[in-house]
Amino acid sequence: MTLQDTSLPPSDADCWTPSGRLVMANADAARRDVLEHLDAAGGRLVLDLSGVSFMDSSGLAVLIAALKAAQGRNGKVVLCGLNTNLRALIELTRLHQVFDIYPDRATAQAQLR
């Protein structure tokens, strides 16, 4: 799994863009990475999951860790770019009641401003 796509323009510094599978094998590293990005973004971060092909409950834990860290500093974390299967997982576990979810990055970024 690639934790960050470094080809993005600088203005997307408020986005975390993992790619590949977000699962138990890489969840610890992903957790450290998203928290570093959240800190660098001043507590307001878009989790752009458009590059994530599959996620398990360990991946969900990473998202929740980011949300809790943001809430702890009066920040904000939103999700975008969920494919059909990721959306199904989020809804199965009722996390759509916890996260704000947007179809794409631009819409999500607008919510942080």
Binding site: R21, V23, M24, A25, F54, D56, S57, S58, L60, A61, I64, A65, L67, K68, N85, A88, L89, L92, T93, R94, L95, Q97, V98
Partner: protein, 139 residues
Amino acid sequence: MIPTHAAELTLAADADAIAVAVAAVLDHCRDWTVPEDALFQIELGLTEALNNIVQHACTAPSQPTVLIALRYNGRTLDLTLSDPGTAMTTPPAPDLPAALDEGGRGWFIIYACFDEVIYTRHAAENHLTLRKLLPLEAH
């Protein structure tokens, strides 16, 4: 007459081995024409079950082997996971944790993805059967 398909595969009880094993199971499912729209739940539930084995049952540094036995008769898919790790003393309740709890969703997901979840222990091994009932396919 609908044929019964069977296969076995093994993996080291290691987090990095899970994705490869799950992909191999899905390949068998596709070869046996398991309905495509069932594959995501199979992938997700099986991944969660293997996560549990690696995290909780097989924690010794010797990395024991997990056996996955697959059986499909055109209507029922059984995935039986066998490992020599620590016994599961009480079947976990299939409940969701509090919304902001980071862990504790694995069993809920397993129960949601499969129609039956059967645990037994004999000969010092755990055996977890994940059963999915599928629409009868024309053969």
